[in-house]
């Protein structure tokens, strides 16, 4: 982070060898405790754990939880499966923004996120991986349409390979909702910083991507 000028990061717990979200969350809490000025943490919600999946602690506070994180690919659920709606109801009613690992086939296509965003309009959801993991280029249209229609959806910039498309997102159809992300370790902070620093969007848009929009997503502005 320091090498690439990233002041703070939201840590989204990875799936550990034990497959236990509880252990993953505990590890993230320890990490945040060691570097409280650098890290915030998201609470990983594995919906198959039922009510036990949900964050028991309130948002914020020292080493507290800033957001929730869900990974439909690793935890094997469709993000718009009605059986996981209880999690969205809780997060929405308790004011937790949600980072959703997006772009995976069958489980987190952006159209599925569109449905969820419509059902839970007060839940702020960040679509990681620029809403798609699709180098064919055929998914960009879906992402832009969904983001334009869903004011509670935010767009993570990691792997947003189409430069003009990202500019249009930041300055037009998702203005105020494009958030700098690295998806580290899947992608590389150096490349993701380069993407924005050398992007064709305005300097004002870059500042929004790096600073204003993340704060807005996290409810800190």
């Amino acid at each position: 982070m320091r090498l690439h000028g990233i002041a703070r990061a939201l840590i989204c717990p990875r799936k550990g060898l034990s497959y236990s979200a509880r252990e993953a969350n505990a590890a993230a809490a320890r990490m945040c405790g060691r570097e409280p000025n650098a890290f915030m943490r998201a609470f990983r919600v594995d919906p198959w754990q039922g009510e036990g999946a949900l964050p028991g602690e309130a948002r914020g506070g020292e080493n507290g939880v800033a957001a929730a994180y869900m990974n439909p690919w690793e935890d094997n659920f469709r993000c718009n499966d009605s059986r996981v709606f209880f999690a969205y109801e809780f997060l929405e009613s308790h004011g937790f923004p949600l980072v959703m690992e997006t772009g995976y086939p069958w489980v987190s296509h952006v159209s599925q996120l569109w449905e969820v965003a419509g059902m839970f309009p007060s839940l702020r959801i960040l679509a990681s991986n620029a809403g798609q993991l699709d180098l064919s280029g055929l998914s960009f249209g879906s992402v832009s349409a969904v983001l334009a229609e869903s004011p509670n959806l935010y767009l993570g910039t990691a792997a947003a390979v189409a430069a003009d498309w990202l500019k249009e997102a930041a300055e037009n159809w998702a203005k105020g909702r494009v958030v700098f992300t690295t998806s580290y370790p899947m992608f590389e902070p150096e490349m993701e910083r380069f993407r924005i620093d050398n992007g064709c969007m305005s300097d004002a848009a870059k500042r929004e991507i790096y600073y204003d929009n993340p704060l807005r997503f996290l409810g800190l502005s």
Binding site: D134, G137, L138, N198
Partner: protein, 247 residues
């Protein structure tokens, strides 16, 4: 010197693409790219019967800068082969581009393999979109190569987000296989490709104008490969593959 082995030039309003040759060359100049392989976004032969002419005219406007590849749709059977013949014999196209996700055919089916073989007959390379989508997977492309082993094939995008290991194993098995570095945002994967294959079969690509060529160039440098490997990747490999005297 930099030769971009994977770029585009086309005007396709229905898809929202407006990338005429003037824009492409301007972007190349800004990034310091000397030459670029260009293909259309639209396949030929399809609705527009003049795609070949469009690309040929665009390349002719900037001699020595734009290297035209014919982007084909194998669904047209003999029509696709005739289009390739015209492209090479009439317009001097230097290669073939295939994007199976755009026409939804398995690459190892007869329709596509005939194109592979015709490319081999002409001694021209075949650049194929090769990432995570069905019809575009590296192992599917390898099945086509098995049926046409003489074809020189460039598997674009280093196998995408999730199939880099596959594409590198394909290249290890197939001496006529190359990879291009375009679009995949990981310098580490470029390094892995060089460590696995050597630098001689790794081609620099950008997928411009969609992707930021400055980022693509930075990615190669960030891989920390050293000057000799960078020269191979940035221009010598492409020049050799295309039979260009880059000097």
């Amino acid at each position: 010197m930099i030769i971009d082995a994977h770029a585009h030039m086309d005007e396709c309003p229905i898809r929202g693409y407006y990338d005429p040759p003037e824009k492409v060359v301007r972007i190349m100049d800004e990034a310091g790219i000397d030459m670029a392989v260009v293909s259309a976004y639209r396949n030929a032969p399809e609705a527009d019967p003049h795609i070949l002419e469009y690309v040929a005219r665009g390349a002719a406007k900037f001699p020595g800068r734009l290297i035209p590849f014919a982007r084909l749709n194998p669904r047209y059977g003999d029509g696709a082969l005739e289009t390739l013949d015209r492209a090479v014999n009439e317009f001097g196209f230097r290669g073939v581009k295939l994007h199976p996700a755009s026409y939804n055919l398995i690459p190892f089916g007869e329709a596509t393999v005939r194109i592979f073989k015709r490319a081999a007959d002409y001694g021209i390379p075949l650049l194929i979109h090769c990432t995570d989508e069905g019809m575009c997977l590296p192992l599917q492309v390898e099945m086509a190569m098995e049926r046409s082993p003489e074809t020189k094939v460039v598997l674009a995008h280093l196998g995408g987000f999730f199939h880099t290991e596959d594409v590198l194993r394909v290249c290890l098995r197939r001496p006529n296989a190359y990879v291009d570095t375009s679009e995949i945002p990981n310098a580490k994967k470029v390094r892995l490709a060089v460590e696995t294959l050597g630098a001689e079969r790794v081609l620099f690509g950008t997928d411009l104008p969609t992707d930021n060529p400055a980022l693509e160039i930075h990615k190669i440098k960030a891989a920390g490969l050293g000057k000799e490997a960078e020269e191979l990747i940035f221009h010598k490999n492409a020049a050799r593959l295309l039979g260009i005297d880059a000097a």
